[in-house]
């Protein structure tokens, strides 16, 4: 377990900022304690200091996880966000997309969101903007990238993709192994 280097921090923050923008600051400066990011086995964990102190006693090969895993760095040092970060992205998300009940299941299986399944979308979403996907009951389902800007979404035909799928909560069941 080690703190992130500058470079890694930059890459990661850039990625996260795509979804929550400047609210990122809220993740770091929290009123209820100091939180930090730590790197362990190529994965980035978001954890409070108190917990990190306890984890420091555990040897590296025996430590499996601490706090919340945000994502991992790939071999080429790109950062990939996992669905486990959803709990922190959802409350601070700037651009949101709501899907209709019929399209929920499809998204949870890893498919992209089509225009026919689109319920609502935040105004002035630009293309390729990171978005968080919700169900109509305001339950966060995952996140992705807007394939079309809001205006384009209105114009496009029903079978067109409007949100590229990146992560969804169905992965807890489908990809349990990749979480660790």
């Amino acid at each position: 377990m080690r703190p992130l280097t500058e470079e890694e921090t930059r890459v990661m923050f850039e990625k996260i900022a795509k979804y929550i923008g400047e609210n990122l600051q809220l993740l770091v400066d929290r009123p209820d304690g100091t939180y930090c990011f730590r790197l362990h086995n190529d994965r980035v964990y978001y954890v409070s200091e108190k917990i990190m102190k306890l984890a420091a006693n555990i040897s590296g090969d025996k430590l499996v996880s601490l706090g919340t895993c945000f994502g991992k760095f790939t071999k080429t040092h790109k950062f990939r966000l996992h669905v486990t970060a959803l709990d922190y992205l959802a409350p601070y998300a700037k651009y949101k997309v709501w899907v209709k009940p019929g399209a929920e299941q499809s998204f949870l299986y890893g498919n992209h969101v089509l225009k026919s399944g689109l319920g609502r979308i935040t105004e002035n979403t630009s293309q390729y903007q990171g978005v968080v996907v919700y169900s109509m009951a305001d339950i966060p389902l995952g996140f992705g990238v807007a394939a079309k800007s809001t205006q384009d979404c209105r114009k496009v035909d029903p079978m067109a993709i409007v949100v590229f799928h990146q992560a969804d909560v169905g992965e807890y069941v489908r990809h349990e192994e990749t979480l660790t």
Binding site: L54, V64, S65, L141, Y172, E176
Partner: protein, 816 residues
């Protein structure tokens, strides 16, 4: 051509059609018929021979009929005309002749011989392996042995089974009930063969109609059971209906054994039979079934076995970090799930009756609003009651249900270290904890036994030990057969090691904690009470109430073992009584961080913390030896329990310093040592020094042994106080005795009180001695003591308790 060559008789050979043609019944059957005895063969007609052949082939069915006859080899050849007569006793001739008349059947005399042969060959012993399979469980009565014999006789002839049955039918119809009864009595008197009753199926058939109510269940002869095994692959498969009926019969008989037993059969025979039948019917291995029979009374046993065939209802636990139970229930109902709150003991549980959607894949599940968890798995966490901002260790956390429950009770504050020894199962822990939004957890992959070394000093520890799984047979039926003695002992050994490690990882001086919950999903005493008792002996812990107000109490004795009486505060749950998986929960409180050394001969000083209320201990017998006795240990524990209140305070205060003292005493065996009391006595004297006390103690006043426990507690207390006080060892010594009883007062108060009490105390020891004598054999501490300290009291806030206990303690001291 030679004269011997007869073309008509030439046997066709080869693969052609003619070779396959049958040659005629006689020749065909000759292959099957055994080398026939001369006389018999001469007399047999062709039909008779066929029947004999058939009978030999189908000897499985035949045996029962032969049973009775075999015992008495047929005297000569009875004319077949008297089919009944073929039966053993001549006395039966009369009734048999009736049968004969009724049947009008004539049998060639030789057939009786054949019967005889068959019968004899088939069973020289009474045991008909096949019998029990085919016999009618309802009609195992020997009463009709004679009749059966007679009937058997008939069957002894080479009858097809169907012919036999027909004949029997006729006999029964013809024979009025009177005849039957007459024969019965005769048969009973004459009956020689044991339990031929169960043998004859035919009898049973006939008897069934008439006598099904009257006849008592007759235990198949002991030999039958062995025969079952010997019969091997050719034995007919046991008829489950029959087995089930027999099970019920035997249970009924055993319930009222005196009245319903069959003469000459012992209880153990019935039990053995029952055991085999249960093993057959429910597919259990012998070992496990034997263990279950020891554990449950018979009526409960059957219920338990039945309950294991059926899965428990699906339950889930609301994740209060993300939602509320009522909202979740609403959302799930909207999806088409039929559910209800779990019970008033749980605020977050829901039970699912049925569901139109897969309950483990709803969007609410994926969003982490609930977790599928067995009802019994919620209990240990409720017992542990983790508070916010505590440090908790979960030693065997997979798949993470209990860990997440603890996190939600703590509202994501504090830290939980979730550990498991299995890497694959850890993946599900990671997944579950992330899904449920738990953020205060660190997940590690250690063997639980390494624990205090890696990191220790936790406020609370939860140990859900790996076990044999005998409480969750409904989830995993393989447990029925693949567990045996070695497995259980291996599990128990591992559990003991884990429990000791867990105890060592708890920080006894924690302000808000110092608790450990040990739980298993097993109902075996070796894995539950025995392990807990072991820990009580080996470490400075005591059992406290779990806070669960339902469930069966733990055992304090089981067969030849005796456990500490505080085990009554542990809880057992069964599938058939509580409709949840079999479970065992025990909650410990650690009262000292020191580890008692294993008993050595001389140093029997109790660890400081052990000193508590002086209690008259029936240890007088133990006192005679420094060796720790289990009983003594038990007693000590009792004392310890009594002193929950005082201990708490003392722990918290002197703990830091008392470590020093503890180290001194570390050589002392655990409290149970009777000598601790001796120490106390020394300390009560102005001698002052702990060591001094100890040494003098060894020489010991034997008579003071019994109060030893009391004094030991006091001494322990003393020791605790001593280091903190530093200066005045005497005072603490004095103080501690009084204090122990009184409660853990802050040290400040101790001085003035202590002195006065100390004086008193010194006198008191005498009293305890006397009382000890009286109460030698009492397992429970003296009467006056319990009021002050009862296990339940531990749950009350210490300060309030202290006052009470103080006064009471004083009173008790005087009394004692």
């Amino acid at each position: 051509m030679g004269r011997k060559l007869d073309p008509t008789k030439k046997e066709k050979r080869g693969p052609g059609r003619k070779a396959r043609k049958q040659k005629g019944a006689e020749t065909e059957l000759a292959r099957f018929l055994p080398a026939v005895s001369d006389e018999n063969s001469k007399r047999l007609s062709s039909r008779a021979r066929k029947r004999a052949a058939k009978r030999r082939l189908g000897s499985a069915e035949a045996p029962k009929t032969n049973k009775s006859p075999e015992a008495k080899p047929l005297p000569g050849k009875l004319p077949k005309g008297i089919f009944a007569g073929a039966v053993q006793t001549a006395g039966k001739k009369g009734p048999q002749s009736l049968f004969n008349a009724a049947q009008g059947k004539k049998r060639p005399a030789p057939s009786s011989d054949e019967d005889e042969e068959e019968e004899d060959s088939e069973e020289d012993d009474v045991n008909h392996g096949d019998h029990w399979g085919s016999e009618d469980d309802a009609d195992m009565v020997d009463d009709y042995g004679a009749d059966s014999n007679s009937e058997d006789e008939e069957e002894g002839e080479e009858l097809l089974p169907i012919e036999r049955a027909a004949r029997k039918q006729k006999v029964r119809e013809a024979a009025a009930g009177v005849q039957w009864s007459e024969e019965e009595t005769e048969d009973e008197e004459e009956e020689v063969t044991p339990e031929s009753g169960p043998l004859k199926e035919e009898e049973a058939d006939g008897g069934l109609q008439i006598n099904v109510d009257e006849e008592a269940f007759v235990l198949p002869p002991a030999g039958e059971m062995e025969q079952d095994i010997l019969a091997g692959p050719h034995a007919p498969a046991p008829d489950l209906q029959r087995v089930h009926k027999r099970i019920q019969d035997i249970v009924g008989i055993l319930r009222d054994f005196g009245a319903q037993r069959e003469e000459g059969r012992s209880r153990s025979e019935y039990l053995n039979r029952l055991k085999k039948d249960l093993a057959t019917y429910y597919s259990y291995g012998d070992f496990l079934l034997g263990k279950l029979m020891d554990l449950f009374p018979l009526s409960e046993l059957v219920e338990f076995l039945e309950a294991n065939e059926v899965p428990r209802p699906v339950t889930l636990r609301t994740n209060t970090l993300k939602t509320r139970r009522r909202d979740l229930a609403q959302a799930l109902i909207n999806r088409g799930v039929n559910l209800d709150p779990l019970g008033k003991w749980s605020k977050t549980g829901l039970v699912v009756y049925d569901s139109s959607v897969p309950i483990g894949a709803t969007p609410e599940y994926l969003a982490g609003h609930y977790m599928l968890q067995g009802a019994s798995s919620m209990l240990p966490v409720m017992a542990l009651a983790p508070q916010e901002h505590e440090r908790i260790l979960d030693m065997c956390c997979a798949p993470g249900g209990k860990t997440s429950y603890m996190a939600q009770l703590m509202k994501n504050t504090g830290v939980i270290l979730a550990n498991d020894a299995s890497a694959e199962r850890l993946k599900s822990v990671v997944g579950n904890l992330h899904r449920l939004g738990v953020t205060n957890t660190v997940i590690s992959h250690y063997d639980g036994r390494q624990f205090p070394k890696v990191v220790g000093g936790f406020d609370r520890v939860l140990l859900d030990a790996p076990c044999s799984g005998t409480g969750v047979i409904s989830k995993d039926p393989a447990v029925k057969t693949n567990k045996d003695e070695k497995d259980i002992l291996r599990c128990a050994h591992l559990q003991k090691e884990l429990l000791l490690s867990a105890i060592d990882s708890v920080n006894a001086t924690s302000k808000t904690g110092g608790y450990l919950v040990y739980c298993t999903c097993s109902i075996m005493v070796e894995e539950n009470e025995w392990v807990v008792d072991y820990a009580l002996k080996k470490r400075n812990v005591r059992l406290v109430p779990t806070g669960l107000d339902f469930g069966q109490e733990g055992f304090t004795r089981f067969r030849e073992r005796r456990f500490h009486p505080s085990l009554r505060s542990a809880r057992r749950f069964y599938p058939h009584t509580h409709n949840m998986d079999g479970f065992f929960v025990a909650k410990f409180k650690k009262f000292s961080n020191s580890i008692p050394q294993s008993q050595t001969g001389n140093s029997e000083t109790a660890t400081p913390t052990n000193v508590d209320l002086p209690q008259v201990i029936p240890k007088s017998e133990n006192s005679s030896q420094p060796a720790k006795k289990a009983k003594g240990a038990a007693k000590t524990k009792q004392q310890l329990q009594k002193q929950q209140r005082p201990k708490k305070a003392s722990f918290q205060k002197p703990n830091g310093t008392s470590k020093g003292a503890d180290s001194e005493l570390s050589t002392v065996p655990s409290v149970r040592k009777t000598q601790a009391s001796s120490r106390f006595q020394d300390s009560s004297q102005p001698a002052g020094k702990a060591e001094g006390i100890r040494e003098s103690k060894v020489t010991g006043k034997l008579k003071q042994r019994s109060p030893k426990l009391q004094s030991s507690t006091k001494v322990a207390f003393l020791k605790q106080n001593a280091p903190p006080k530093g200066t005045d060892t005497e005072t603490p010594a004095v103080l501690s005795p009084s204090k122990t009883q009184a409660t853990l007062k802050p040290k400040d108060h101790h001085h003035p009180l202590g002195r006065a009490k100390g004086v008193e105390k010194q006198q008191l020891p005498e009293q305890p001695f006397k009382k000890a004598d009286f109460q030698k054999q009492n397992d429970t501490p003296k009467g006056p003591q319990p009021p002050t300290v009862s296990p339940i009291s531990s749950s009350r806030p210490p300060p309030a308790k202290r006052k009470k206990s103080q006064s009471r303690g004083n009173g008790q001291l005087l009394l004692s």
